[in-house]
């Protein structure tokens, strides 16, 4: 019987590889989106994603120029010897990882002075710029409405928030941010994005807040059905101090304002650009993450 010739595999060259993407793994495509493909690995709580937009890059992503149209959930995935190979019954796609830039996702290391003066000035002079930038571009039907509850986390004005946001507001009011894990409408839970933003703010300011109970958040995230694969991955990375590019870029722009001058407004255009880019990430993911960051930054310290 004549053997059918295998089609030539599709070849993609990876631009970047997340630092937490293992060199060898076997998995399966779990979901295919227009700009991302998710890969689950047995026994691993985190997924690996192939993404086509740099702002979406994270410690568990691989940035590729395009995604083959024929990928489907259930395709097997092998990673070995510098390449990720995705195979279905008929053809293969190969992602060449050699020479790919390694993405870490660490936030800028700001040398805050110990006496708290710089941090206070930052909160007073720079954080309002972040808020103004977010005001202009925030996605209104994410968790952005939580910021309207005010710095002291008062109970929400119910008419302004949907049920999910109201629930989120109550969790925050009762100092239970872990209650946001898995919460919210949309494909990536808004609550997870919010928490990733809050964790980023905490990391950036190098101040641990007892309210952000990382252990509780982690345990909620790894519960069966606690949250989605994507949400779990982002939370676990964030707890390890690794953040997606859209968020890293915002904090890189904020870091430009430190030490805080009397006129921090001269740096605002970079910040506005980064915030605007972040707000375009996902449906409301970027906006929700920045909401979380702002929530943390404006709370009384």
């Amino acid at each position: 019987m004549e053997k059918k010739a295998s089609p030539v595999p599709l070849q993609l060259k990876a631009d970047s590889r997340g630092i937490m993407v293992a060199e060898r793994f076997i998995g399966r495509v779990s979901a295919v989106f227009e700009r991302a493909v998710n890969i689950t690995i047995p026994g691993d709580p985190m997924i690996v994603s192939l993404v086509t937009r740099r702002p979406a890059m994270s410690g568990r992503s691989v940035l590729v120029p395009w995604l083959p149209g024929a990928l489907q959930a259930g395709d097997t995935v092998h990673s070995d010897s510098g390449a990720i190979t995705i195979t279905d019954r008929e053809r293969r796609a190969e992602v060449d990882l050699t020479g790919a830039h390694v993405y870490r996702g660490r936030l800028p290391d700001v040398p805050w002075e110990n006496d708290g003066v710089q941090r206070a000035r930052f909160r007073e002079l720079v954080v309002p710029q972040l808020r103004r930038s977010l005001d202009r571009v925030a996605v209104r039907n994410g968790l952005y409405g939580l910021l309207r509850t005010g710095a002291r986390g008062g109970l929400p004005r119910i008419s302004e928030l949907d049920r999910f946001s109201t629930y989120a507001a109550r969790q925050l009011y009762h100092s239970n941010p872990a209650g946001l894990v898995g919460l919210g409408s949309g494909l990536t839970p808004s609550g997870d994005d919010f928490l990733v933003g809050a964790l980023a703010a905490e990391e950036f300011m190098k101040q641990r807040d007892e309210t952000i109970d990382r252990r509780a958040i982690y345990l909620r995230a790894i519960e069966p059905d606690g949250t989605t694969d994507v949400g779990r991955t982002q939370i676990v990375l964030a707890i390890r101090g690794l953040f997606p590019e859209y968020l890293r870029a915002v904090f890189a722009a904020l870091a430009e304002s430190v030490p805080v001058s009397d006129n921090p407004g001269e740096r605002v255009s970079n910040l506005e650009m980064a915030v605007s880019e972040a707000a375009r990430h996902g449906h409301s993911s970027g906006s929700d993450a920045l909401t979380g960051a702002l929530w943390w930054l404006v709370r009384p310290s």
């Binding site: 979901a31 227009e34 086509t52 740099r54 395009w66 898995g182 409408s185 494909l187 949250t227 996902g282």
Partner: protein, 513 residues
């Protein structure tokens, strides 16, 4: 309904949810993942059910609350339609490259790369493009000068154009790039170290019956900094010298560094083609061989066209006869109050600002600006005019966190309103730049403010003269005639060029004293 391990993009699902909510009789439509907390909340909302309660964290739930079974069926059917529509489109939007490499792979025949990135990243991408054998137009500013030198040297070695940094205008093979105008094709090649300078020259070439072979921008520093030494201007001139479709070469720039001029002149002479040069703010020099000098951007265009047509050039300042100019001046000055004595120039185009500052500094006895003729006239607070003040509202100090005034009129209208609180303003001088990249109706966006400004002075017993010019062509989407009519309808005197507008202001001020 529950979609196991759903494959739809969030944006798609949100838009579906929004569409379903619009159906009359649908009270709520929620798209959420089957996480524990979401399932509890959906249950509280009365949107539970066996199918939903069995969903897992990676399953998508679309939950609908409707007034009736019929409405529920209608909504479900609509969801199905929208999801199928999304699937049948292949779920693939047009591919958008995410890197220069992938863009080159997608369009291997493209030979020009336009780069607009924050300055600290732009140089790297420009270098990649040059190494890939592509010409570069670098819109970004804030690129370190060392990088600009290195990029232009690399471009020169490879025989490629490196337009920029800070290059906002080019017209290549009839294609307007970034801020540019629709200009007739012809045999005049223009090289410009200034964006609106290129636009003003090109539009005046069209107005005077000529056309452009190429409009090449080089970035503002090319001739000003000795270290760059006019490298790109010289390369562009050499290229136009070799171009069989270019019969006349025009070069415009702010005054170059002295050390750069000889090399530029030698390059122009070596082409053997008739050349016209204008260094803004300097009087025309004596003709040197095939190189003639002009006194203004407009004159550069008019000399180039006359040479192109083989006609003799007759210098003149105004298109209108002197009698008409006199009657305009009389009309514009007769109702001014005694205290009105200053000019305020509020521009969107940097080079047009420079032309105005240079031309009016001496006749007015000094013009304050961000880039003045004399250092003593550097304005202390850019947001507060003093005496005669002419500013480029596109400068960084005005555009931090805001769009450029060519795109968004609010920077200018707000400044006009502030100026109008000063009863000593006699003349407001403005430009109006149209074409690609500009506001869809810049004159319209300013009209109300200009009208209110005139009314305010009238109400206080004075008269505000507003003199304007429109840089553009009939081929531009905004249409130059429409823009001119709009400005005239609110009482502006619209002159055919920036230079003529400036000279009219000089005459008005002379008459008003």
């Amino acid at each position: 309904m529950v979609h196991k391990d759903s494959y739809y993009d969030s944006v798609v699902l949100m838009s579906i949810s929004a569409d379903i909510k619009k159906i009359e009789g649908v009270n709520e439509a929620v798209v959420a993942m089957g996480t524990g907390v979401n399932l509890e909340l959906l249950k509280d909302m009365g949107l539970g059910g066996e199918e939903i309660s069995s969903a897992g964290a990676n399953d998508l739930i679309i939950a609908i609350d409707a007034d009736s079974e019929e409405k529920l069926d209608e909504a479900e059917s609509k969801v199905g339609q929208l999801l199928r529509k999304k699937s049948s489109s292949g779920g693939q939007e047009a591919y958008r490259p995410t890197s220069l490499d992938s863009a080159i792979q997608t369009l291997p025949d493209a030979n020009l790369v336009v780069i607009s990135l924050p300055g600290q990243y732009a140089g790297r991408e420009a270098r990649k493009a040059l190494r890939a054998g592509r010409h570069v137009m670098l819109f970004s500013d804030n690129v370190p000068i060392e990088q600009e030198i290195s990029l232009k040297q690399l471009a020169s070695e490879k025989g490629l154009l490196m337009m920029g940094p800070d290059c906002g205008t080019a017209m290549i093979n009839g294609m307007p790039i970034c801020f540019a105008n629709v200009v007739r094709r012809g045999d005049i090649g223009v090289v410009s170290a200034s964006g609106t300078g290129l636009q003003e020259v090109a539009c005046n070439i069209e107005k005077n019956g000529g056309g452009i072979s190429q409009g090449i921008g080089t970035g503002g520093r090319d001739l000003k900094d000795e270290r760059i030494g006019g490298l790109m201007v010289r390369m562009a001139v050499e290229a136009l010298g070799r171009d069989p479709q270019t019969g006349v070469i025009a070069v415009v720039s702010k005054p170059p560094a002295d050390a750069v001029i000889p090399d530029v002149m030698n390059t122009l002479k070596a082409t053997g083609k008739p050349c016209v040069v204008h260094f803004i703010g300097t009087a025309a020099r004596e003709t040197e061989g095939n190189v003639r000098f002009a006194n203004s951007l407009e004159e550069t265009a008019r000399i180039a066209v006359s040479v192109s047509k083989g006609e003799s050039y007759e210098p003149r300042v105004f298109d209108l006869p002197e009698s008409k100019i006199d009657s305009i001046i009389e009309r514009e000055t007769k109702e001014m109050s005694a205290q009105q004595k200053y000019v305020r120039g509020l521009f969107a185009g940097g080079t047009l600002t420079d032309e105005a500052v240079f031309a009016l500094h001496e006749p007015l006895g000094g013009v304050y600006s961000l880039d003045p003729v004399e250092p003593a006239y550097e304005i202390e607070d850019p947001h507060k005019s003093v005496g005669h003040t002419i500013v480029d509202l596109g400068e960084d100090v005005f555009t931090v966190g805001r769009p450029h005034p060519m795109i968004d009129a609010s920077i200018r209208t707000e400044r006009i309103e502030r100026e109008m609180e000063d009863p000593e303003v006699a003349v407001l001088l403005i430009d109006c730049v149209i074409g690609y990249g500009s506001h869809p109706d810049p004159a319209g966006a300013m009209a109300d403010t200009l009208s209110a400004a005139k009314e305010r002075y009238r109400a206080n017993g004075g008269y505000l003269s507003i003199v304007a010019s429109v840089t553009g062509t009939e081929g531009d989407a905004q249409n130059i005639h429409t823009q001119q009519r709009t400005l005239e309808s609110v009482g502006c005197v619209v002159m055919p060029s920036n230079f003529q507008a400036v000279k009219l202001v000089e005459r008005i001020m002379g008459a008003s004293r």
